[in-house]
Symmetry: C2
Subunit: 435 residues, 2 copies
Amino acid sequence: MNILIKNGTILPMNVADDMPKYFKGNLGIEGNKISFVSAEQSDVDNFRAKHHENCKIIDASGCIVMPGLINTHTHIAMTLLRGISDDVPLMEWLNDHIWPIEAHMGYNEILIGAKLGALEMLKGGTTTFVDMYPYEEAVAEASEEAGIRAIVSPCAMDFRMPHFEEDWRAVQKRFSNSKLVSMMIGVHAIYTCSPDNMKHAMELSEQLSTGIHIHHSETQDEEKTVRERYNANPTEHLVNVGLIKRPTLAAHCVYMSDNDIKTFAENNVSVAYNPQSNMKLASGIAPIAKMLDSGVNVSIGTDGASSNNDLDMWDEMRTASLLQKVNSMNPCVLTAYQVLQMATVNGAKAIGREGELGILQEGALADVILVNFEKPHLYPHTNLISELVYSCHASDVETVIVDGNIVVENRKCTTMDETKVCTDAQNTIDRLLNQ
Amino acid sequence: MNILIKNGTILPMNVADDMPKYFKGNLGIEGNKISFVSAEQSDVDNFRAKHHENCKIIDASGCIVMPGLINTHTHIAMTLLRGISDDVPLMEWLNDHIWPIEAHMGYNEILIGAKLGALEMLKGGTTTFVDMYPYEEAVAEASEEAGIRAIVSPCAMDFRMPHFEEDWRAVQKRFSNSKLVSMMIGVHAIYTCSPDNMKHAMELSEQLSTGIHIHHSETQDEEKTVRERYNANPTEHLVNVGLIKRPTLAAHCVYMSDNDIKTFAENNVSVAYNPQSNMKLASGIAPIAKMLDSGVNVSIGTDGASSNNDLDMWDEMRTASLLQKVNSMNPCVLTAYQVLQMATVNGAKAIGREGELGILQEGALADVILVNFEKPHLYPHTNLISELVYSCHASDVETVIVDGNIVVENRKCTTMDETKVCTDAQNTIDRLLNQ
């Protein structure tokens, strides 16, 4: 399909900091790519002349037109577990609530949870996400059905290496020609994956020409365990094992020394910052302002909905900025535009898709969202960048296009039956909780 | 009007911590008061028999029915200034952006800003707010028009005492019989109000039988200034001047020693916790978990929309809890239910309206909201309390009743022309910025 988006306020996210950041204009989509982004009426006329009737026209008056958001660390099947346990210590949360339920979650339960997560993300303007969970094949299946772009990470972990092998092979076999699904190799974390298994994952990532996705330095306990076991801190351990030489996306990164940050910058490791999960589980505050100063590529993740408790990137952007300001006692750090970059272009870079995703420009993939600005909580309009980050909500997203397909229109998902997705999730968690 | 709310999930907020917190049931409103809250069909039948046709029926299936939220510290006219300056140091923010515009804001500009703020709050389920700003008469006028409950605080401040006198007299004269507007006496802050002017405010609050609303210990600078000027910290100064003996609502309270907290608890001072503003302006983190432990009554405020950047109590509740968890490195502090109490019953206590507001029970004022739970981001339903605090948004509020009047129905404000309120605000800020 060809799509012409007219009369919007275009926020391309492809400009340097000192350039104008948005303008009144139009955007054309041919197939799954953006064919033009411009303020010129002549481009609109040419596009219409070329496509005649074979062109869907979307009036974007009163809307910001921007790249879809990229959530670089989550476990979307855990949306099924939203609210089953909160406000308890981490180990009680895992041992008494999360793990006992997860033990009963197989392919089908994960498929159902993933559909709910995909639906929530699409309706909130997230068009790409990076996942890690058992049965990533099911997450990939849900994503194709929903029409969301997924980077799934079958995950190496000492106690389930055979499952890791099965899972990545299944994803590879079934989705290697997918337009929406691609793969990273997951390494659950240093404390759950031996150096040998880590090396196996590294070889595999090299063989498949993909990056590594890992939980890194999330808690004080993890720091302590790794140091006791390997006589090195988590970042030093990644260096020692050599994993840092692979393209790496490291989630959390709460306990990072200045040296660790330097190591990440020098090795082009990307970070997925998960502020709300780190706050809710009382893990700590990642030194993101310092990382940005040192040139580390920082993106944003929501983590799973059971420790957040949603997959809302708007909430996460706002908290990302506010938390760093108070933590640095400096209101200037993590400006609104920096945070938007983290949720778009930096996210694309973190998954090796710079220039292709997270940006509106000719030739980029057509992952585009329309945010309705005609709402009282967004008035008056004085600085749209600031409004997007500090005042906008997932519910302000009106239209979502992924890979050239309209997947949300007037806030309704076009690819899935919303009621059925919600009901299936409810029935499934009710059954699991009553087991 | 009489209103029957049927088939909802009722969250009365009047139960002890270990009691069931919500149930399927119904709620009746006669005039401006709640006449029953119950799970019994006989109560519904009696209500209908009594009122026959003279009764509006609202089907609350799929909705939580709960008390309207109480925002205990804000400056709603500053909604006009949303986004005009962000990500800059506090003094630059004030000197170069906020104050130059405020210098041109008179009655009419404040009226227009206050209408926008009232509209945003109502649509997000806030039914009562405590304000402080020049021309509180204008804020009161806007609130009556919007149909929101307002506690306005004309404000003593050294450089504008004549205006303070004019303002409280105007409010007193015009709104003393209002069903929606009442008054507290504002003391801007210790560093802007001499002990003599503070004493005058205290006498006035006694004469008018109302409480005092003050900015308290918001920044390190304030702490330092007060100590240098009075050889006491801010809380000690309140004790020394005697203000603490009046019913007091203290906003911010970021720099509070254990002794200060004890003093507040002993003197029944209520606190308005403003986490997002304190984060955005990098003021610091208030020791709220300690205050709760010590028995201080803590409520929640958004502060003004220029330092937040919204008046959204859902966002504020979520941040309130998450920030204390990470600050205490304890995921158990500020549970979801405690935070809901802060935004309802504790807010009512902070303004001396316990049992009358922030609660659903027979005889309480009919300030009631319906939150639509049939949304993907709120599924599955396993713990509604947790979903309200950790996953809900202002846009999930469907219906809002204040003092027995339906002011928001199906997310549309019934009392004001939303487009006009937004357009007036836009025109006004455009004019002010171009001066």
